[in-house]
């Protein structure tokens, strides 16, 4: 598996990994990942055609299922409001806990949403529907990771834990998929050239 961007945790941007900075990272390391992937011998497994057939079947199931009264857009706006309120740069344990619970509820509601546009060309309703699943997954991961990291660092400011704690948290946060929600662990960060310093300005 090749990854680039925020999840690859290259540390190039330190605590300043905001918005447009990731574009640069995605371009540079995306290019390297692509070259490395091209050099690697393909491992035996399902062929591309079989994978395509799986995807086609998955789409047919989504398109055929009856649409409940609720629209994906409603859930998306609620998720946005929830994340802005509780999971912005300033966050604290109780708000994060509420966000995690509500993301779970939204995911349950998402299961009943269907796609009304049955067209096969430029079907942005289907795209938005698929994106929403990822938004819910990642929203849950962000809330869980912010709860897990009991300190403040960079753009993660825990109002209930305002100090940085290098003894315990000079580490990467690792999220693993579990059916009940993400499982959090940490892995020590390897410091090479630059030692992290406090913000003294």
């Amino acid at each position: 598996l090749y990854a680039t961007g925020g999840c690859a945790a290259t540390g190039v941007h330190g605590a300043n990994g905001l918005a447009g900075n990731w574009l640069l990272e995605a371009l540079v390391f995306g290019g390297r990942a692509g070259l490395a992937a091209a050099e690697q011998k393909p491992r035996p497994g399902k062929g591309i055609d079989a994978q395509l057939e799986d995807e086609r079947r998955r789409m047919t199931v989504i398109m055929d299922r009856p649409a409940g009264p609720e629209k994906a857009g409603t859930i998306r706006s609620e998720l946005g409001r929830l994340m802005r309120r509780h999971v912005g740069p300033l966050r604290e344990a109780s708000g994060l806990q509420e966000a995690a619970t509500k993301v779970g509820e939204l995911s349950t509601r998402y299961q009943k949403v269907g796609v009304t546009n049955k067209g096969r060309r430029y079907n942005y309703e289907l795209v938005a529907f698929l994106e929403l699943e990822s938004l819910l997954t990642i929203g849950g991961v962000i809330a869980a990771a912010a709860t897990f990291r009991e300190e403040s660092r960079g753009a993660h400011h825990r109002q209930d834990r305002p100090a940085r704690d290098d003894a315990k948290w000079l580490a990467h946060t690792m999220a693993s998929f579990r059916p009940g929600g993400p499982a959090m662990t940490s892995r020590p960060a390897v410091i090479t050239k630059w030692r992290p310093e406090g913000r003294r300005y």
């Binding site: 857009g73 430029y122 079907n123």
Partner: protein, 268 residues
């Protein structure tokens, strides 16, 4: 909208261009009455339509910050970025907002048009990458800020296509390279690191290139970034007159030629 802030709502009727060329039929303008916050943008309105009223509406958008140029549309007959246009200022006295694809494009569905034909093929044709002379330097090729000053403004182009939308030549010949691609050519011709200047000037000097510009200045009027593409085309011409001697101006207005020059590469 955050809790605690009062939201004032306003009414607007979006009249949206609808057409599915594959399904056939004629384009229509479909009205959607909307209730929107008074600071809503046209793009907010389009999302509201797609998410709440009509999932079949096709339009493109990405950054929502006026940075990516993806939602370039014609709003009440003027080329605009939908995400940077407020409904409150765009709507007519009757509260109507007409939204349609920009001119000079091939519509794929509703508000989605073929950007490859409008822009990318032409931009690829000017070889939009640095071609330094000599061997690759071992480190970054550092420049003093003032050395990049001439091209700094042109580098801010985000390919919204509004200059090509306003162009007076493209309606007559949509194979004219157009101000967006020529501005991209300018960006490399005037880059002190580039070693392919003569080759570039030769290429944009072919028919359908810079000499076909009629300097109507519509591109300058349309550019939301103040890059003034018409002036950049004139800069290219000045440079060509000053540096290339082999190739005299070859506009089809001069020699009537329709041969040579860059060509469509369908499916490329």
């Amino acid at each position: 909208m955050e809790a605690g802030r009062e939201t004032v709502l306003m009414q607007a009727t979006f009249k949206v261009y609808r057409h599915d060329p594959e399904a056939g039929g004629k384009p229509t303008f479909q009205p959607y009455p909307l209730e929107l916050p008074e600071d809503a943008t046209v793009l907010d309105g389009l999302f509201k339509i797609r998410e709440e009223l009509d999932g079949t509406l096709a339009f493109r958008a990405s950054c929502n910050r006026g940075f990516c140029g993806e939602c370039t549309l014609r709003i009440n007959r003027g080329g605009r970025l939908a995400c940077m246009t407020r409904v409150a200022t765009a709507r007519t006295k009757d509260g109507e907002v007409t939204v349609e694809p920009v001119r000079n494009v091939h519509v794929l569905k509703d508000l989605v048009y073929d950007v490859d034909r409008l822009l990318w093929q032409k931009i690829k044709a000017v070889e939009p990458w640095l071609q330094p002379a000599g061997p690759q330097p071992a480190r970054e090729h550092l420049l003093r800020d003032e050395q990049l000053q001439p091209v700094r403004n042109a580098m801010r182009c985000y390919y919204c296509g509004l200059c090509d939308e306003g162009c007076s030549v493209i309606p007559f010949d949509n194979t004219f390279l157009g101000p967006a691609a020529l501005t991209k050519a300018y960006r490399f011709v005037f880059d002190p690191r580039d070693g392919a200047r003569a080759h570039r000037l030769q290429a944009v000097g072919e028919p359908r290139g810079m000499w076909d510009c009629v300097h109507c200045f519509e591109a300058d009027e349309h550019c939301p970034r103040g890059i003034d593409p018409t002036h950049r085309i004139m800069d290219l011409r000045d440079k060509a007159v000053g540096t290339t001697t082999a190739s005299p101006p070859r506009s089809r207005r001069v020699d009537g030629s329709t041969r040579g020059g860059w060509r469509w590469k369908p499916g490329a």
